[in-house]
């Protein structure tokens, strides 16, 4: 189908095959950077586009579902309700691989309850929050992740403390929680790749600056702040499992997190060692970072032991959506037997 000479992945697809429609976001919007890392990650993982579904709610972030993976089905649904729609799609067809983009308003305000219940059910998917501390599409109101004391042109000064969506994910039992920064393309991409291979809901809270409404230097959601303050926990590389042995490592310098289908997340130590399999450590880290106004990025927590929703439901190999009519409608004899019970 493709005629370019660009490099092809294992499926014989080029990067362009993973692109979407041209973006209509503001030039420089963090969400566009995230979208291009989604494209890169899907291309590099050689995901079959038709197996991926791109899901979103409403917002600039959610609009961006149109701007990647144009050969994948998708659903740009309602404000704050992407989790429910994705849950239904997953149950109907667990072979689909959902990747969702949401905003801090979409997830942290109107969608907070749905977000938490999605995580409780452990719907396997990549859940990216493009967190800019502001409502972009409605032109600059505070979201629930806005800094306390932040000020915006129309909205004035925010007096309320921010909700930390990573902490929220951790506390409700999410097994993959990461924070990243749209300005750190490589980390975003590697995290997305790891998330795609995670067995459960993988939440990545990406600080994704809104250049139009919330990119002033004081904002912790601005490029300048992020660039100046980002403190990666580790240098993170996603290694599809077959390449694993090819990478030589110095002992003590890296931690490898093995995912259940074989791939490895390699965490190269930067400062202090950090164990991303300890939930309390992750919470403590977030609490400390909050108190010290630090901007910590990386894989905060990973734990693959929980079953996915489809597993919890004990679904069979054929997706419900693909069952033939014979399996959907019991026999006339079965109905006759039922009728007899009511006689």
């Amino acid at each position: 189908m493709t005629t370019t000479r660009a490099p092809l992945n294992a499926l014989g697809l080029s990067r362009a095959d993973y692109k979407g429609a041209a973006s209509t976001l503001c030039a420089g919007c963090g969400h566009d950077s995230v979208a291009s890392q989604i494209v890169a990650a899907a291309f590099e993982l050689a995901l079959p586009p038709h197996r991926v579904i791109r899901m979103s709610g409403i917002g600039c972030s959610s609009k961006s579902a149109a701007y990647f993976l144009g050969r994948s089905h998708g659903f740009n649904s309602l404000h704050g309700r992407m989790p429910a729609v994705t849950t239904g799609a997953h149950v109907a067809n667990p072979t689909l691989i959902p990747i969702a983009v949401s905003g801090d308003g979409d997830t942290g305000s109107i969608g907070l309850g749905g977000f938490k219940h999605l995580l409780r059910r452990n719907v396997p998917m990549v859940y990216i929050i493009e967190n800019n501390g502001v409502y972009g599409l409605t032109k600059g109101q505070f979201s629930a992740t806005a800094d306390r004391g932040a000020s915006l042109k129309y909205a004035g000064v925010n007096q309320l403390p921010p909700i930390d969506l990573c902490a929220e994910a951790l506390i409700v039992g999410c097994g993959f929680v990461a924070r990243s920064f749209a300005g750190d393309a490589r980390q975003v991409r590697e995290l997305i790749k790891a998330a795609f291979c995670f067995h459960g809901t993988a939440v990545i809270d990406v600080i994704s600056p809104c250049v139009t409404f919330n990119n002033h230097d004081e904002s912790t959601k601005s490029y300048s702040y992020g660039k100046a303050h980002e403190e990666p926990l580790h240098d993170l590389t996603f290694i599809p499992h077959y390449e694993e042995l090819a990478v030589a490592i110095e002992p003590g310098e890296v931690r490898d997190v093995r995912l259940h289908d074989g791939p490895v997340i390699r965490l190269r130590k930067i400062g202090a060692d950090y164990d991303p399999t300890d939930r309390m450590a992750a919470l403590t880290l977030l609490e400390r970072a909050r108190a010290a106004n630090e901007f910590v990025t990386g894989l905060l927590f990973v734990d693959e032991h929980r079953p996915t929703l489809a597993e919890t439901l004990g679904l069979g190999a054929t997706p419900l959506a693909e069952l033939p009519a014979e399996l959907l409608r019991p026999s006339p004899e079965a109905l006759a037997a039922v009728n007899r019970e009511f006689m």
């Binding site: 189908m1 079959p48 586009p49 038709h50 197996r51 579904i53 579902a65 149109a66 144009g70 050969r71 994948s72 089905h73 998708g74 659903f75 740009n76 649904s77 309602l78 309700r81 989790p83 429910a84 729609v85 994705t86 849950t87 239904g88 799609a89 997953h90 149950v91 109907a92 067809n93 072979t95 689909l96 309850g113 749905g114 219940h117 059910r121 439901l313 004990g314 679904l315 069979g316 190999a317 054929t318 997706p319 419900l320 959506a321 693909e322 069952l323 009519a325 399996l327 959907l328 409608r329 019991p330 006339p332 079965a334 109905l335 006759a336 039922v338 009728n339 019970e341 009511f342 006689m343």
Partner: protein, 596 residues
């Protein structure tokens, strides 16, 4: 079936059992009904219960009618006064000459000379069961079962069979309960109480079943191929989900033993419909079930599903609103709000089952319609239909194969060479869809609630918006033809038509008999779905006056009919009454007569 040759009182009676809820009286009442049913006599029960778990008054009305009337009776001549708190007012309702059975060892004493009141030695008789003392309260209800059996002549063998049905064959509870029934029966028989009301075996129930609408609806969904249920508990819809949860594991396993369905209890109704929409979008036969407050919460998703054209099925087992209202009482008050559910210009497909049989049928066809029309389909049942036991012909196996609607496979796409999601080549307003997972490079599309063109690409162009809405309008016209058409009974010489829908059918049927007897023949139309079509217009046009009878405050079907046939709007009159109770034939007949 009508055999009015019986003397009055024979196979024509009603009993109300006034008890305390949570006391296990439901087992007793259902046993009575099923036993009478097994005697071949038409019978129906209506449970009037409080929004409470334990300790509040509940009234169970059993109506036996050789003519098969099942509407709530106006006169109930037999009272089982097992709730001392309400006994005085219950007794006051008893017509002169009525019979009252009450616990003689309880605190209450009847104070009316014009009724026959029989005190039952409940504790003594209940002891016959030999159950542990903590279970005595439960089996105590069997005392009135036995006494009633003696009074009106319920066959003990059929009572035993009914209990066996209830306890699914477990011998011990059957024996324990039957011991009390037998003791009470024998005791009562020895009292020599004369009763004008008697049962006599008939053959009206051969091949018939006794079932509640929620179970029938759930079975309909199962034979309709439901593969996903997302729901949130709410009275009176909960038992529909419960029935799905109990029958699906038995009826719907794949060859490898794995379920061909999934059930998710959502965190609320917004999520419930959202999940159903997601699953419907992905290709499952998805449904949810709820009642009024849930419907209100589903408004936004209903609009999305309508506009993004996603098939799914939504059961609304109606209760009394507005707001939380009376959660355990019945009504038909969600008609207008459901038809127009959603902001902007939305009009939905709404099915209106009028019997338990139709709960099954529409449970099946709702999915076919939803997938054919690519739209949410609502089924409006109600508490009376959904939670009470009704006689019915056996559930009928679907005559037609499943209609999965217009879905393009990868092969078809390859053949067509193009995919225009919302093209309308057939003029029925319906474009073909592709399902996620379809590997063809042309298959992908981004579903959305935002304005879009034929190709489902975001568009703000005025022409695109208008064309899309016009096409949705054509789809609504298609729906008008596809949905179940009204059932019409034209009566010779009738200048008056009565129109109704749903569970009030029986009250209307009986009311028409009353009116006929008074010299007022009426025709009848039972509306079975929205949007309304030509047959409805035609029926209205044939009658000088049409009276729309419904169980709500504002006359909602009457309003929708007025909109449907404005040329006849003025002759559409309304009998709308809603107080939580099912309509009675007397109320309907009286109100219709007064209008004329």
């Amino acid at each position: 079936m009508p055999q009015p040759a019986e003397p009055p009182g024979v196979n024509d009676l009603a009993v109300v059992a006034a008890t305390v809820n949570g006391s296990g009286s439901q087992t007793a009442n259902n046993a009575i009904i099923r036993a009478i049913f097994r005697m071949g006599i038409p019978v129906n029960g209506k449970n009037l219960f409080p929004s409470n778990i334990q300790g509040e008054p509940t009234w169970f009305t059993i109506r036996v009618s050789a003519r098969g009337y099942s509407a709530r009776p106006t006169r109930v001549p037999i009272l089982i006064a097992f709730n001392p708190r309400t006994a005085d007012s219950d007794l006051a309702e008893l017509p002169p000459g009525g019979l009252c059975l009450y616990p003689g060892d309880g605190p209450w004493r009847p104070a009316r000379a014009d009724v026959v009141a029989v005190p039952l030695p409940v504790k003594e008789l209940a002891a016959a069961s030999n159950v542990e003392p903590r279970m005595r309260d439960y089996v105590a209800n069997m005392v009135y079962v036995g006494a009633l059996a003696a009074l009106i002549g319920i066959e003990l063998g059929e009572l035993r069979a009914a209990l066996a049905h209830h306890f699914q064959g477990k011998a011990r509870p059957v024996e324990q309960n039957m011991a009390v029934v037998q003791a009470a029966h024998d005791w009562f028989a020895a009292q020599g109480v004369a009763s004008p009301f008697r049962l006599r075996r008939m053959d009206a129930n051969a091949g018939m079943i006794l079932i509640d609408g929620n179970t029938a609806g759930a079975l309909g969904a199962i034979f309709g191929g439901v593969s996903f249920l997302a729901w949130y508990p709410i009275t009176p819809a909960t038992s529909l989900a419960d029935a799905l949860a109990s029958y699906l594991p038995r009826l719907r396993r794949g060859p490898d033993g794995s379920p061909t369905y999934a059930i998710v209890q959502a965190e609320d109704e917004i999520a419930a419909l959202g999940m159903a929409v997601g699953a419907g979008w992905a290709g499952a036969r998805a449904m949810t079930s709820t009642s009024g407050p849930g419907i209100s919460l589903m408004t936004e998703f209903a609009g999305l599903a309508y506009f993004a054209e996603i098939p799914c099925v939504i059961w609304d087992v109606q209760r009394v609103g507005p707001s939380t209202g009376l959660p355990t009482r019945t009504a038909q008050g969600d008609l207008i709000s459901t038809y127009f559910l959603g902001h902007g210009d939305t009009r939905h497909v709404v099915l209106l089952p009028g019997s338990v049989g139709e709960c099954f049928d529409f449970g099946v066809s709702a999915f076919d319609l939803a997938e054919r029309l690519q739209t949410p389909v609502f089924v409006l049942s109600d508490l009376d239909l959904g939670m009470n036991l009704w006689r019915s012909a056996p559930l009928a196996y679907p005559a037609a194969p499943m209609d999965r609607g217009k879905v393009l496979s990868a092969e078809e796409l390859e053949r067509l060479g193009r995919f225009v999601r919302f093209a309308d080549p057939e003029g029925d307003g319906i474009g073909a869809r592709t399902l996620p997972g379809n590997p063809h490079p042309l298959a992908a599309t981004l579903s959305r609630g935002t304005g879009h063109n034929e190709r489902n690409v975001y568009s703000e162009r005025p022409e695109d918006w208008k064309a899309n809405m016009d096409r949705l309008g054509r789809k609504h016209e298609t729906a008008r033809r596809l949905v179940p058409q009204p059932i019409i009974e034209l009566e010779e010489g009738a200048r008056v038509g009565i129109i109704g829908f749903g569970s009030s059918y029986d009250a209307i049927r009986e009311a028409r008999d009353i009116l006929r007897a008074q010299g007022l023949p009426t025709s009848f139309m039972r509306v079975r779905a929205l949007p309304l079509g030509e047959p409805a217009r035609d029926f209205v046009s044939r009658h000088r006056i049409c009276v729309v009878v419904e169980l709500n405050q504002d006359g909602q079907l009457r309003d929708l009919l007025r909109l449907h046939c404005p040329e006849h709007a003025a002759r559409l009159l309304s009998v709308a009454h809603s107080d939580g109770l099912p309509l009675t034939a007397d109320l309907v007949a009286g109100a219709v007569a007064r209008l004329l």
